[in-house]
């Protein structure tokens, strides 16, 4: 899955999906047999607000080519305000990561509701394509030397 030399490299994208909205949206996409690239590895969290920036950086450190965090639309959070807190955190984090030189498109934040199966498929297709174009992650990856 990762061999660039033989042209068989496939992006590996870690997707943090909130249980109540975006994970359910992903479920709906599946049940509706909507096609989307198989490159995301889903980690279900109770709420997008639970996603610690350290989790995102850890994923990058361990070689994730892309990271996706999806939550409920603001105003619809199952826990009322978790995604509001997340929104502020991620606004700052995204700018900071890109400032340091992480390629734009590697880390993506999105709102997807439980009823938006189509939107979820579209999101993953878009993110996967963007990451594919960026190539394998090389910045903020541990060297394991």
């Amino acid at each position: 899955m990762t061999d660039t030399a033989t042209g068989t490299w496939q992006p590996r994208i870690i997707a943090f999906l909130c249980n109540w909205c975006s994970y359910a949206g992903a479920d709906l996409a599946g049940v509706s047999r909507l096609q989307y690239p198989p490159n995301i590895r889903v980690i279900r969290v109770p709420c997008s607000g639970r996603v610690n920036p350290l989790l995102i950086l850890k994923a990058l450190r361990e070689g994730a080519d892309g990271v996706l965090v999806a939550g409920c639309h603001p105003g619809d959070c199952h826990y009322v305000s978790g995604n509001y807190a997340a929104r502020r955190k991620f606004a700052v984090l995204k700018r900071l990561l890109e400032y340091v030189g992480l390629e734009s498109g590697r880390v993506t934040f999105a709102w997807v509701s439980a009823s938006e199966g189509g939107r979820f498929a579209e999101l993953v297709t878009d993110v996967t394509e963007k990451v594919r174009q960026l190539g394998p992650a090389s910045r903020l990856v541990a060297s394991h030397e």
């Binding site: 361990e62 070689g63 541990a142 394991h144 030397e145």
Partner: protein, 355 residues
């Protein structure tokens, strides 16, 4: 073989070039605004001067991070362990100060002259030649003479270079050193020794007030519970600057890091890195208990280790008076002053007992 040689200033680059042919040569150089040992690719790049590197030569023997071994689950289910291959090439480190070289002889007590020598440290020690330059202009933070050293000290060096009117004289201190200077123009032994002795006398005389280290061990022996310790640590913020930039500090941490690219943690490495008793978690145990819970205990520990325990174990204090801790401490803590206060406290104590 000869012990003394002379090097014209203009000839130094070509000698260095000759060494570069045979060894990996390192010398102090500015690297991104910090003076540190780096690879010397041409003799003409060397910049001998009155400076001291920010990071001591210890980092060439005990690096900030090093992989001790890698492990992997073998095909038969057992563990396969692989140690990194040592580079076969010999190293020559040029421009080492006597304090840094002496510090290596102190580190040798811990890593080399023991019944369990450290193979990583020893391999580097044995494959390295150290060419030092005497300090004709000790800095105001230097106090090597107060801790058993000298700006023209010879301990730990293979060759000592001494500046004289723009040129250098070289004194070989070991067989490796003699081999190194064999190609150089000879210098008369007696004249050279006189010259070195004079340079040494001059440099030592120019150093500031001595630090009162006589009897320090005894004062520390009886002063563990002195109220002084409540005050001395107050400005300290508990970072690692003093210990990491100290030529003799050598505490380290070991960590096993799983290689997360492997399946189920089937591979990884063991990494050794610099650690310091000044960090708050240094002695925290798995139970959560920390026998050194505050800055007071930790600063006391550092001083005790350097000037009492190390003396008990090896007969010498673990300090070479380079002054880096003083110059780089974010809060300008001064170990000279700390030692003086220990002395004052002990004196006050003994007066109190007399009266």
């Amino acid at each position: 073989m000869r012990k003394y040689a002379r090097i014209e200033r203009d000839a130094l680059p070509s000698h260095l070039d000759a060494w570069i042919e045979r060894y990996g040569v390192f010398a102090p150089m500015m690297r991104d605004g910090v003076r540190r040992f780096g690879v010397l690719s041409a003799g003409s790049d060397a910049q001998p001067g009155p400076w001291l590197t920010k990071v001591p030569v210890k980092e060439m023997f005990l690096p900030q991070t090093e992989c001790l071994y890698r492990y992997r689950r073998g095909t038969n289910g057992g563990l396969e362990i692989e140690t990194p291959q040592d580079p076969a090439r010999l190293r020559l480190i040029f421009g080492v100060r006597p304090c840094d070289a002496r510090a290596l002889t102190l580190l040798d007590h811990v890593f080399r002259s023991t019944d369990r020598p450290d193979p990583y440290y020893c391999a580097r020690r044995e494959s390295t030649i150290l060419v030092g330059i005497g300090c004709s202009e000790p800095r105001s933070v230097c106090f090597c003479t107060s801790v058993g050293g000298s700006p023209f000290g010879e301990e730990g060096l293979d060759v000592l270079l001494v500046e004289t009117g723009g040129d250098y004289v070289a004194k070989a201190l070991t067989l490796k050193g003699e081999a190194l200077i064999a190609e150089m123009p000879e210098a008369a032994p007696e004249d050279t020794e006189t010259l070195i002795a004079e340079a040494r006398r001059h440099a030592e005389a120019s150093m500031g007030d001595a630090v009162l280290t006589a009897g320090l061990k005894e004062r520390l022996d009886s002063g563990f519970d002195a109220p002084l310790w409540d005050r001395i640590h107050e400005p300290c913020i508990g970072c690692g600057v003093c210990a990491f930039l100290c030529p003799t500090c050598h505490c380290f941490d070991l960590a096993h890091e799983a290689d997360t690219r492997s399946v189920a943690g089937d591979a990884g490495r063991c990494v050794r890195g610099w650690d310091t008793c000044m960090f708050s978690l240094f002695t925290r145990q798995a139970s959560g208990v920390n026998p050194r819970p505050s800055g007071k205990e930790r600063m006391r520990q550092r001083l005790m280790h350097k000037f009492r325990y190390f003396v008990e174990n090896y007969g010498e204090a673990a300090c070479v008076g380079c002054g880096r801790c003083i110059a780089n401490c974010p809060t300008a803590c001064d170990i000279r002053e700390t030692i003086a206060r220990i002395d004052d406290a002990a004196e006050a104590d003994s007066h109190a007992q007399e009266t």
